[in-house]
């Protein structure tokens, strides 16, 4: 079993929200020593472990307690109960360049900032050249940082932070700094860190980063851990919830939307066969039938589907508006058919999502995530890799 890098054990954190905080002795005395306050629970019994070498993501909406959790992990805030145990040399990047002094030169600030992050003089001296090279500020290093542009400032700060040589790196939403070239270098540095088996805890709103980089993640919602595990799944759940109220079907489908019209059932027919199926072969003729019901008969609806590779990219997302099929009003119940001849999908598992929206596609009446999950088996044409076939005609001259 892998060694633990960080243990968060039943951590709770409560803040006092003072209505009128007595910040001076006079107020304290005048108020007879009483302060009116409410308790605000920022973290409630949060527990998780981060294993050595893992890239661990923390997601959650604004005010979900992410920052508080981060500060507890970094040792800046003390939890009211529970404990955080850090087993590796940690560096927490909550803000770049905290402690930079504008009047001091870049060189002096590198030394000072690295010392604040816990480096000894010898360590800094050994890494100084790396830091300057990474920042790309060789010719400015002896100028005071007040003459730096904000981009230069951040680059220098990041270069210091990344060179502290942590075994455990805690990062808060700082990947989005500097220009594209610098961002690319930061990303490379993170990948390098990951490949070297260092542990990274990432707190971010960039869902793609979480999906791409993290091995595991937790989802924090109002200070409570709502989910833990596979980042792709968590991100999906999180995104669903962020987009609107959702409900979960027995079959794993997730529904959201205002509900005036709903897709009630999705069926798949193959080669004119009247029995619905959940699998077919490449090259089959497929008919997708969306059964709907609409209590109020929504005007000018757009019905769409989206076919995704399992847990991944979208293969195709057609809708009725694309082909100019716009009924004035949806009847109280019925179905929409999509006929696909000679299907180009190659073997794999695919998810089908459905939606009914208004004409502008801005108001969602109904969105059914994973309305149907189906398998494609190998048929004709056969290809050894990929998602779709372009029906290639090979010649060798």
């Amino acid at each position: 079993m892998a060694e633990l890098a960080l243990e968060v054990d039943h951590v709770s954190k409560t803040f006092r929200l003072h209505h009128e905080k007595a910040n001076s002795l006079k107020q304290l005395v005048a108020g007879k020593g009483r302060n009116r306050f409410d308790d605000f629970v920022a973290l409630k019994d949060v527990s998780f472990d981060v294993k050595e070498g893992e890239v661990f993501g923390v997601i959650g909406h604004n005010g979900s307690g992410k920052s508080t959790l981060l500060k507890c992990m970094a040792g800046i805030l003390q939890p009211n109960s529970g404990s955080v145990r850090v087993h590796k040399r940690m560096s927490a990047l909550l803000e770049l360049g905290a402690g930079f002094h504008p009047e001091l030169s870049g060189r002096d600030n590198v030394y000072l900032n690295a010392a604040i992050l816990g480096m000894s003089r010898r360590d800094i001296a050994a890494r100084f050249d790396d830091i300057v090279e990474f920042s790309g500020l060789q010719s400015f290093i002896d100028s005071p940082v007040k003459t730096y542009s904000s981009g230069m400032y951040v680059r220098l700060a990041f270069a210091v932070a990344i060179n502290v040589d942590p075994r455990l790196l805690i990062i808060d939403e700082i990947l989005a700094v500097g220009d594209v070239t610098f961002q690319q270098r930061c990303l490379e540095k993170f990948v390098e860190f990951r490949n070297e088996g260092r542990t990274i805890v990432l707190v971010t709103h960039a869902m793609n980063t979480v999906k791409d980089m993290c091995d595991r993640a937790i989802w924090l919602n109002h200070g409570v851990v709502t989910g833990e595990g596979d980042p792709a799944e968590l991100v999906e759940q999180y995104t669903e919830q962020m987009l609107g109220g959702m409900s979960r079907g027995d079959d794993g489908s997730i529904r959201r939307g205002s509900g005036e019209a709903q897709v009630t059932r999705v069926e798949l027919f193959v080669n004119g066969n009247p029995t619905p199926v959940k699998r077919f072969r490449t090259g089959d003729s497929v008919r997708i039938r969306l059964h709907y019901s609409s209590a109020v008969g929504v005007p000018r609806p757009v019905i769409g589907v989206e076919i995704d590779l399992l847990g991944g990219s979208t293969v195709s997302a057609p809708c009725t508006r694309d082909v100019g099929l716009i009924p004035d009003r949806l009847s109280s119940s019925g179905y929409a058919d999509i006929q696909l001849d000679d299907v180009s999908l190659l073997p794999g598992t695919y998810d089908l999502h459905t939606s009914i929206t208004d004409f502008n596609r801005s108001h969602v009446y109904d969105h059914l995530q994973v309305a149907l999950r189906f398998d494609v088996m190998s048929g004709r044409p056969y290809e050894s890799g990929g998602i779709v076939t372009f029906r290639p005609k090979w010649t060798i001259g």
Binding site: F15, N23, S24, L25, K26, L28, K71, A74, G75, I76, L77, Q78, A92, L94, E95, A98, G99, H101, E103, L104, D108, Y111, L112, A115, I116, L117, G118, M119, S120, R121, R122, D123, I124
Partner: protein
């Protein structure tokens, strides 16, 4: 604390102190001369008032026989200013360190220590000038300097204790900052800097000047550099006990309060 973090901690203190020293007189033409101009101006003002307005007699050094008010004033004012400025700057330093305290975990006490170190370095430079003045005035002070350093060491310890306690308290109640402005003024006049305690007739006042916390320090320093004799054993014991006690109480208060800094700021 592991060796590695101890080295890192020492390094941080060193660099923060250097920052204090380097950034203090940036963008000023006279630079470090300012740290001397202030006490010299004070000296001139009080000398005029003492010698020409009040027509008082300067204290006579025993056994040195020195009779020079400006020298008497400087040898008291420089250490006292170190004390009062250090505490004031330390209070501001912790308050001004909010950006850092809220974003990085580091030993908060270094914000205070670095101020004391920087101010102490300043004091030593000023005392170098004072030594020259004393020698010119005819006081052979050189053999007494080790004793002086010992007392100054205790003063630094005492100052650190007060600075730790007050800077921590100030995070919670900013009044401490303003209160210190008033308190240090009271202490200035309760300390024998611009007067000779032997001439005070009210016993209680004479006692405060002689044995009050700052009064006792300055009296000891006067003994050493103005009178050219060692302070009494009783006074040395008093200063030692008071300094260590103040330091440990201040450190205790600071350690108790500092985990809550980030939240309060």
């Amino acid at each position: 604390m592991s060796l590695r973090s101890a080295a890192a901690s020492r390094n941080l203190l060193y660099l923060l102190s250097m920052k204090e020293l380097r950034t203090r007189y940036k963008k000023s033409v006279l630079g470090w001369a300012w740290s001397l101009l202030n006490p010299l101006t004070q000296m001139a003002i009080f000398s005029v008032i003492f010698l020409y307005v009040f027509k008082a007699t300067p204290p006579i050094g025993d056994p040195s026989g020195l009779k020079n008010f400006p020298v008497y004033f400087l040898s008291g004012a420089l250490p006292f200013n170190f004390f009062s400025i250090s505490v004031g700057v330390a209070i501001g330093s912790v308050q001004g360190g909010a950006g850092l305290i809220k974003k990085v975990q580091f030993p908060h006490e270094h914000l205070v220590f670095s101020v004391i170190v920087a101010q102490f370095v300043t004091l030593l430079i000023e005392l170098g000038v004072l030594t020259a003045v004393l020698l010119v005035a005819g006081n052979m002070v050189l053999p007494w300097l080790p004793g002086l350093l010992l007392v100054l060491g205790l003063l630094a310890l005492f100052t650190t204790g007060i600075a730790l306690a007050l800077s921590a308290a100030n995070v919670f109640y900013h009044d401490v900052n303003y209160l210190w402005g008033i308190l240090s003024q009271i202490l200035f006049y309760a300390t024998p800097i611009i007067y000779n305690p032997a001439t005070i007739e009210v016993r209680a006042l004479r006692w405060v000047a002689n044995y009050g916390p700052t009064g006792s320090f300055i009296t000891a320093i006067h003994n050493i550099v103005y009178d050219l004799r060692m302070p009494g054993l009783g006074r040395v014991v008093q200063l030692s006990v008071m300094s260590f006690a103040t330091f440990f109480i201040g450190a205790w208060v600071f350690n108790r309060l500092s985990p809550r800094f980030a939240e309060e700021m």
